[in-house]
């Protein structure tokens, strides 16, 4: 019994130590990243970044006005991206098809900088993670965009929700 007791304490210590050191490794990345993202926001780097997402709008076959929601979602995350999409939709800047395609793409692929950096201290290959994630998400959304009629899809769905 006594050895079992000692073992339990060993296991708990191992678990706590490992958990805390995991958090520490991630804190070293997350804190500077959040500061950087705030600087990027205040420097209006988004205008610049939406220039990079313009080719993406062409590949996905969505309107050019989708460049900004794509840039925001890819960098800052789904909640921000969705917020901008809703705003653009209310202002009539995005057509139905772009709205659905951009939403699906961002649901699968968002906050790519944070997610990639989070997995590096865990032991993943960051470039491969980022590259494959972007490639697969773009490739499959392009296929959807070509072969699925999204204009009818959206109108038909809301009753189910």
């Amino acid at each position: 019994m006594e050895t079992a007791g000692f073992q339990l304490i060993d296991v708990l210590t191992e678990g706590l130590k490992g958990g805390i050191s995991s958090v520490f490794g991630i804190a070293l990345i997350v804190i500077p990243l959040m500061i950087f993202l705030e600087i990027a926001r205040d420097m209006n780097l988004l205008e610049l970044i939406s220039k990079w997402t313009r080719p993406l709008t062409r590949w996905l076959g969505v309107s050019e006005s989708s460049a900004l929601p794509l840039a925001i979602g890819l960098i800052f995350g789904l909640a921000y991206g969705a917020g901008v999409i809703i705003q653009s939709a209310n202002e009539g800047e995005m057509d139905q098809r772009s709205l659905v395609l951009v939403s699906i793409f961002l649901a699968c692929c968002h906050a790519v900088i944070e997610d990639t950096l989070l997995f590096i201290p865990v032991g993943a290959n960051g470039w491969m993670l980022l590259g494959i994630r972007l490639f697969v998400a773009i490739f499959v959304t392009v296929l959807l965009s070509k072969y699925v009629d999204f204009d009818t899809l959206k109108d038909g769905e809301p009753e189910c929700e």
């Binding site: 678990g15 706590l16 958990g19 997350v30 205040d42 659905v100 649901a107 699968c108 997995f119 865990v122």
Partner: protein, 139 residues
Amino acid sequence: MVTTDTIRRGLIKGLETVWILSKVIIPVYLVVTILKHTAVLDYIAVVFRPFMQVFGLPGEAAIVLVLGGLINIYAAIGAIMSLALTTKQITILAVMISFAHNLLVETAVSTRVGVSGRLIVGFRIALAMFGGVIINIFF
């Protein structure tokens, strides 16, 4: 304009994120470490082996996919850290989790835009499996 307030906001957001993730990572790491010393993890490993083999992953890595899918990336990270995995296996899990994580909460966000939740969840899981298989085969 970038001011000291910018830096302060970033620092607070960073600390908040670390606080949120530590509340998830530490308990998950602890629980999986305890499971490792019991028969439960071996049982999970055996049951999920056939499915996980498709992605070149050991059966116990199913825990990572379930925790990531239902809770979030941080929970998945806690589980990955507590298991013994190779760089390739961790990269495969990272890609799969990147596609399909926090599905309950994020699907609620996505449907606010008006897209079908089932469509989005199905699509994300399909992409996760597709991504996992691709890395397993080609790299």
